[in-house]
């Protein structure tokens, strides 16, 4: 039946219909954007027209000057703290996440109750953004790097548990079945099938979280008064934009460098 229907439509008519659908879709999109800009009183053309002025202002006020460069050692020092903090939070969270992922994944869960608990705890953690964690711990622990660490730790834990569970199910489900069939015990299955099959992918996720956390650490530092984020907010609030922009520039450079390094590591392990 269906093949007959297809034969009735000529290729010309088929492609005409396809083009018509696409055109209508694009017109619809333009209408929605226009409607949204009217409602919010946002003028796209004004915004674009402002770009040259903004660029001029940025070159005039944001280029780091000699004074800003003289602060570079202190900036780098704080940046190093931030890198260490994010590595520490990622690694610590990955250990806890691994345990939760083993308990929660379909392939390796010991029983339904543990699995439900592990998944629920991880899911709650994942759905609270890192900024919210920072605010929560700020109230309980005050302004300190420990607060920053905890915020990064919990957000990372939520995300990594989910990622690890999927990795375990994808990478090791079939070999887990084979080892169980051969009479292997639960701990043997974990050590001999789950870990070797999923470790490289898990390490790749941890590297990804290190990158993400350096970016987040900036925001978290801003809120919790620690690390590079704190430096930025101090310069920014005291109107020393040239120094603040040097902070941003150095973060960009570091994030790019970390990305390059972790890509290289990934190529080796995957």
């Amino acid at each position: 039946m269906s093949s007959l229907l297809i034969e009735k439509t000529s290729p010309t008519a088929y492609f005409r219909k396809q083009k018509l659908t696409l055109t209508l879709f694009l017109l619809g999109m333009i209408f929605v954007s226009w409607g949204a800009s009217v409602l919010t009183q946002f003028d796209l053309f004004d915004a674009f027209a402002a770009i040259p002025r903004v660029a001029a202002w940025m070159t005039a006020n944001l280029l780091p000057d000699a004074k800003a460069w003289s602060r570079l050692p202190r900036i780098l020092d704080k940046l190093w703290d931030t890198i260490l903090m994010s590595v520490m939070a990622s690694v610590a969270a990955s250990v806890v996440s691994f345990v939760f992922a083993i308990l929660g994944s379909v392939t390796t869960r010991p029983n339904g109750v543990f699995a439900f608990l592990a998944r629920t705890i991880a899911s709650i953690n994942r759905n609270i953004p890192v900024a919210a964690w920072a605010m929560i711990f700020l109230l309980s622990f005050g302004q300190s790097s420990f607060t920053g660490f905890l915020a990064l730790f919990f957000a990372t834990f939520g995300f990594l548990t989910r990622a690890f569970m999927e990795t375990i199910d994808e990478a090791s489900a079939s070999s887990v079945e084979a080892l169980r069939a051969a009479g292997a015990s639960y701990s043997q299955v974990i050590a001999q099938a789950v870990i070797p099959a999923s470790l490289p992918q898990m390490m790749s996720w941890v590297l990804y979280m290190v990158e993400t956390n350096i970016r987040s650490a900036t925001l978290v530092g801003l809120l919790t008064g620690s690390g590079i984020g704190f430096m930025f907010s101090v310069y920014y609030k005291s109107l020393q934009y040239r120094s603040a922009s040097l902070v941003v520039l150095s973060i960009v450079v570091v994030v790019l460098a970390i990305e390059l390094i972790s890509n290289a590591v990934r190529r080796v392990i995957l």
Partner: protein, 253 residues
């Protein structure tokens, strides 16, 4: 003497019956093929025997042991005496061939020795011998993701053989292989049965392969055992009973 006795085996998935009142016995050293359309219960049957799936009702006796009553360490020991090979090989592809083969010994080891991968010299020698038997002596230290499909399946067979099993369960071992690799695998299974006296119970999609290799064929349809006999008795009419009329014609032509 029967090595495997299956009696009135029944398995429900929710309300649907995957296996209904299946009864048969398999003698030591037999080569038995299980055929039937997809969803007829072949895979469920194989997995009930080593308890990868828990049966709903009935009994399974293997080597005089009541399989369905086993728990914990006793279940591990029973499983260790039954080898299994899979359609998708189910190897740990990031590990080397010999590491995968040695996984077949885990059922005999203490948990801690297995976790740490501490295998005895005899076990390692045995693994290499089995690999020689299967023509994989040049691939002992190769990572499994570098092997072809046929080679991966031979690693799967080697892993089952180091278990020193009295029976090997094969779940569609050649369904992912090209015809020549498939023939190599089936020939190895026959050699294992003939030379080592190991019972082979193999799920197959290919009726012609089943007729050529098996001494006895079990035919399933919708969870019922509808045929049990030697290949010579598997005529047109019987194939129609197992596969239904339309598919049956395709298989016979």
């Amino acid at each position: 003497m029967a090595l495997l006795e299956v009696e009135r085996l029944t398995k429900f998935y929710g309300d649907s019956r995957a296996l209904s009142d299946v009864t048969f016995k398999i003698k030591k050293g037999q080569f038995v093929a299980v055929i039937g359309p997809s969803g007829s219960g072949k895979t469920t049957l194989i997995r009930c025997i080593n308890r990868l799936i828990d049966a709903s009702d009935g009994s399974i006796r293997y080597d005089k042991e009541d399989i369905l009553a086993l728990k914990g360490a006793a279940l591990r020991h029973a499983r260790a005496k039954i080898g299994m090979i899979f359609q998708h090989y189910n190897l740990v592809y990031r590990l080397t061939v010999i590491e995968n083969v040695l996984h077949g010994r885990l059922g005999y080891k203490s948990s801690i020795a297995g976790v740490l991968g501490m295998y005895t010299e005899e076990e390692k020698t045995k693994a290499v011998e089995v690999l020689q038997l299967l023509g994989l002596e040049d691939y002992v230290y190769r990572r499994c993701d570098q092997l072809s499909g046929g080679q991966k399946q031979r690693v799967g067979i080697a892993r089952a053989l180091v278990q020193d099993p009295r029976m090997i369960l094969c779940d569609e071992p050649i369904s992912s292989l090209d015809p020549s690799s498939a023939k190599i695998i089936m020939d190895y299974l026959r050699r294992i049965q003939k030379d080592l006296g190991i019972t082979i119970l193999v799920n197959l999609h290919q009726v012609d392969v089943a007729k050529r290799y098996a001494e006895r064929i079990l035919g399933f349809n919708a969870g019922h055992l509808v045929f049990d006999g030697p290949p010579s008795e598997l005529n047109k009419k019987r194939i129609h009973e197992i596969y239904g009329t339309e598919a049956g014609e395709l298989i016979i032509d």
